[in-house]
Structures are given as structure tokens and as C-alpha cells.
């Protein structure tokens, strides 16, 4: 069945469109995440709904150009409303965004109901903008998406180092004399454009996740902005194409939620498994550090006993060490033996285990004493 699906021209078109949307979102989402604009993104995408409806009403049907135009218009008006509320009221940013999001979304839902009550062929298409339906993408739509993708990529490429500095450190960018306001405006317009381009596939409700998730996942794996942007773009494209394919297999299955679930699965894997930043890695290295520390404590304790008895080859007894360190030590001692820092010895007539520091063990204990990285 998968082969049948993939060989269908329609499915391939839809998957290409969804991959473009996902890739675009992944690419621009990096900057939304780093500039802490995920709530703003959510507001713009919810506020696009009334614009979608207006576009629908104006051309009397589902035309991606008209819908995107309307969505971009109300999305940007909403973003400006946030700015205005910030200037005129003492409300905190999250409250400003929350209010604007709800008001515009409510207007959108009212318009949506009105359009659906009007009946006719048009009403079938419009509800898909809530949760997204990639299957509605036509070849013409894919061309529009491709154009938006190219515009976004060119913008990033031409202004790459300036955008990097403005994203990381806008104060310094401004002190150096870069036109920070203009670059930020460019990025915000691009963000709005990306959101409205993604609405048909992902829907207004979940679009923000398509934007944010790939960037969050990508950050786990790489440590430079260029690589992060590319990896995020690939994750977004994968989630988009995969989501479109899966939703094509089930009748009427909305695309948005599937894409989001795929992208979030990648996020989950990345948070767990990524080197250095991943939880598994961190747990393992914490464990290694704990082992090293407990080994170090034993070495220091043996060193102290040797000093106290004025005998570098003093055989430390198991029970004595366990008393000093307050816990049982069999595994630590085996690790220390394996790394050649201590050596088991017999201490006649006692039958309990004893160890002495090897040459290497004495050196390490001495280093620990000098640098002070030890117990107490």
C-alpha cells in the first residue's frame, strides 16, 4: 500500500509541499526559538484564522494565495497589537500575547461558523485550516510554498552574519552600528510568512509546534548556528513529508497532529539520546564522575592511613576503610584494582582482605591532596 501511495502523483505533490512547509518551519523556527518568540509565533498563527476566513470570503473559495494574503494581514496586525498593548499598558508580555491570541482566534472561529452556515462548496475546505490538511495542497500551492522557501533561504544567506549577531547579542549589534531594528523586522516578517505558508498543512492550532519542535531537537545535536539551521530544516522536512504520507493513508486524518507527533518524537529522542546535552549522556557522565569521586576517596583514605603509620606500603584493611568512608566498598575496590591503583595483599595472620597503594595509586593520591580535589 505504501508503494501504491508513493507512486501516486497526488501523494508525491502533497508530500513535496509538506516537506517544503516542514523545512521552511524548521529553518525559520531556529530563529523563533533563539529569539524567544514561540509565544509570539503561536499568537500570529491563531490570529491568522480570521485572515484565512477573509481571504475565503473575498475570492469565494479556497485559494492559497488569497488565504495566505489574508492570514499574513491579520497575523501582522495581531503582532502590531501586541506591540501597541506593550506601549500603552503595564501588562506583561505573556498576558499581552495571551489576550491578543484569544481575541483574534475568537473572531476567526466566529467567521468560520458564518462561512460554514452559508453553505455551498466552499465550506468543505475551510475547516481544514484549524488542524491542517496537506491533501488539499495542489501543484500550484506547492509552487507558492517553494517560492516562500527560496525567499526565506536567500534572506538568511545574504544577511547570515548580521542575523547571527542580532539573534545572539542585539545590544552589541546596535552598538556596532548595525540596523538591528530592520533586521529584526525582516526576521519577524519572515516568521509570519512561514506561519501562514504552513497553515494549510499544519493548521492554526498546531502550527507553532511545527515551528518550534525541529529547532529544539536540532539544538541537542549540534553546536553552531549554521548546522542547527540545516539539521532543523531536515527534521522539519522529514516530519512534514512523513505526516503527509501517514495522513494520506487514513481517510480524513488531519495532517497537523501527525506532523506534530512525528516532530515531537524526534524532540523526545534528541532530549534523551543526544551526545553531551542528552539526558542519557548526562546520567552516564554523572555516574562516571561519582565513581571517580568514590575511588578518589578510597585512595585518599589509604594515603592517610599510610601517612599515619609512616609506612607507604601500609596494608589497609577492608573493615577499616569501610568504617572511615561509611559504606561497603567491594565494587570500588575492584575498579581500583583493575585500574592498577591498588593491589590486594595478604596480611598474616588476619584473613580479611587488605590492599596497598601501588606506585600509580600513591601518585594519584598525592596529586589529589595537592590540588584539593578530594573529600572535605
Amino acid at each position: 500500500m505504501l508503494v501504491d501511495l508513493l507512486s501516486s502523483q497526488i501523494v508525491r505533490t502533497v508530500m513535496l509541499g509538506a516537506a517544503l512547509v516542514g523545512g521552511l518551519s524548521g529553518m525559520i523556527g531556529v530563529f523563533a526559538v533563539l529569539r524567544r518568540q514561540s509565544l509570539l509565533s503561536d499568537t500570529i498563527s491563531h490570529a491568522a484564522l480570521p485572515g484565512v476566513c477573509l481571504g475565503f470570503l473575498l475570492v469565494g473559495g479556497r485559494d492559497l494565495g488569497a488565504v495566505m494574503g489574508g492570514a499574513l494581514f491579520t497575523g501582522m496586525v495581531a503582532a502590531m497589537s501586541v506591540l501597541a498593548i506593550g506601549r500603552l499598558t503595564p501588562l506583561k508580555t505573556d498576558a499581552q500575547l495571551g489576550i491578543v491570541l484569544s481575541v483574534y482566534f475568537a473572531i476567526g472561529v466566529v467567521l468560520l461558523s458564518v462561512i460554514q452556515a452559508m453553505g455551498g462548496g466552499s465550506r468543505v475546505g475551510i475547516a481544514t485550516f484549524l488542524f491542517g490538511q496537506a491533501a488539499a495542497l495542489s501543484v500550484h500551492d506547492v509552487r507558492i510554498l517553494g517560492a516562500v522557501f527560496i525567499v526565506a533561504a536567500l534572506f538568511l544567506l545574504t544577511l547570515w552574519k548580521e542575523i547571527k549577531l542580532v539573534t545572539f547579542d542585539p545590544l552589541t549589534a546596535e552598538a556596532l552600528g548595525l540596523p538591528v531594528r530592520h533586521i529584526e523586522l525582516g526576521l519577524t516578517v519572515l516568521l509570519a510568512l512561514t506561519i501562514v505558508a504552513g497553515l494549510q498543512m499544519a493548521g492554526v492550532v498546531l502550527m507553532v509546534a511545527v515551528l518550534i519542535a525541529p529547532a529544539v531537537a536540532a539544538r541537542q545535536w549540534v553546536g553552531n548556528l549554521g548546522a542547527m539551521t540545516i539539521v532543523s530544516m531536515l527534521i522539519g522536512a522529514f516530519a512534514g513529508a512523513g505526516g503527509a504520507l501517514i495522513s494520506a493513508t487514513g481517510r480524513g486524518l488531519a495532517t497537523g497532529p501527525i506532523v506534530v507527533l512525528l516532530a515531537c518524537a524526534v524532540v523526545l529522542i534528541s532530549i534523551l539520546a543526544a551526545p553531551r546535552r542528552g539526558l542519557v549522556w548526562q546520567a552516564l557522565s554523572a555516574q562516571l564522575a561519582r565513581r571517580r569521586i568514590s575511588g578518589d576517596r578510597v585512595l585518599l583514605a589509604m594515603d592517610r592511613l599510610a601517612t599515619d603509620h609512616d609506612n607507604p606500603a601500609y596494608p589497609s584493611e577492608k573493615g577499616m576503610l569501610e568504617t572511615m568512608l561509611g559504606r561497603p566498598l567491594p565494587r570500588v575496590m575492584r575498579r581500583l584494582e583493575a585500574s592498577g591503583l591498588v593491589r590486594p595483599v595478604a596480611h598474616h595472620p588476619e584473613s580479611s582482605p587488605h590492599w596497598v597503594l601501588t606506585q600509580a595509586g600513591r601518585r594519584r593520591a598525592e596529586a589529589l591532596r595537592r590540588t584539593g580535589h578530594g573529600p572535605e
Partner: protein
Amino acid sequence: MAAGSDLHEPGLALHIEDLTVRYGATVALWDIDLDIPPGRLVAIVGPNGSGKSTLLKAVVGLLRPVAGHVRIFGQPISRARSRVAYVHQRAEVDWDFPATVLEVVTMGLYRRIGWLRPVRKTHRRAAMEALAEVGMEAFAERQIGQLSGGQQQRVFIARALIQQADLVLLDEPMAGVDAVSEDIILSLLRNLRDRGKSVVVVHHDLSTVRRRFDWMALLNRRLIAQGEMHDVYTPANLKAAYGGQMAVFADTDAEETAPSERVGGQL
């Protein structure tokens, strides 16, 4: 306020006249007149919220004053950008940003490199030299998120050094940094001054300011005093700037400084 009044504008590293800056209804700076001679290591000192950061931001044009003007070597900031380097407080950026130490230092050159031009080998070499000056060349390829506070601060200072500015402004470069970094930063600043540069530092610690700087401006929304350290560092001036908060400072000083340096001892 008498110390700098006989100097003329172009001969001054920094000339500030009638400067007033507001955030909405909050007046952060009121009618500041400040003249900083070139080639000095200058401390801007005042209690929390006294407008020290605001002053630096207004000087580099990040804030638009409601009144007054600023001249740098006689010129407005718009024409003096290439002669000024500004190091803001460390916490103003997100250190989890994906970038290496070397990359951040080259950012100081972005404007000089110009639009549409990539960062080249010569720029990276200049950045390595700046990193060597702050003792961080071994960290060039390190992620900035893995640095300690003092190392972060040194990276920012390297980014300022690379700009080869004549006036360097730093906002609390020694706050929350380790002793090694503090020594390195201090000797770098002295070195800059000895090379004829003008260095203006917002300094948070009254107990160390007298030893470390040779010129001082005391600020508390208004300018309290300015001039040579030994003229300005007087109990009366400090009291005028810090008022009732003095006791707090005297207490913390006791742990950190030799008795002769204690502000409490002076009062």
C-alpha cells in the same frame, strides 16, 4: 564637579552635557554633566539602580536621551562608532546560544567586514590574537555555554579588544568572576590605558575601586562628583552617593579588604 570643567570637547574622550534619560515615567539619569579626559582608567560608581548601565547605553546610542548630548573625542556617536567598543553586562545574552568562543570574538569585526562579505582567515587570526591577550586561546573552539563566568567575560573583552577602539566602555566586567579572571581583566584594562586608550568601567565594588582606578565618577541618578580618584573618593562624596546604604557596604568590605582599604574605616 569642578575637576573636568576647564577641558574642551575635542580633547575629551567623553563629553556629556545636560544628559537626561527616562524609561517611561522612571527618570534614570537627571541632568548629567560629565567630562572624561583621554588615557585614563575611569570607574563609574554608584548604588544599584543609580543609572550606571543606563549611562553607558546612552553613550553608545542604545538609548535616546530626552535631553542633552554626548560627544566622543568631539564627535557624536553616529560618527564615532569605529572608535568605541562597548561591553555590556554578561547576563544580557543567552549563553546557550550555539556558537564557539572564536565565533563570538569575530563578531566584533562584523561591521568592519561589511555586508555580504564572509568571515575570512585573517579575521579569525585577529580573533585568535585577541583571545591570546585574554588568556583564552586554548578555548577557541569551545562552546560558549561551557565557559565559567570569568571566561565568558574575557571572551566579551576579547571581542572588544579586536575592535581596536580608542574608548572602551565596560559594564561591571569584574562582577561575579573568579580571582584569576579578575586579575587578567584588570591588567588588560591597565595595559589598554598605558597604550593611551581611554577605559571607562562601571564598577560595583566600593572596596576595590580606589586601588584599581585612577579617575572616578560617582553617580546616583544625578552626578555626585567626578575627577581624580584621590579628590573624589571622600567620605562626604560616598555618603552623598550611597546615603543610608553605606552601612551595608562597610559590612561587606570587612570580609574582602585590608583594614586600610575599608570604607567603614574612612567614615
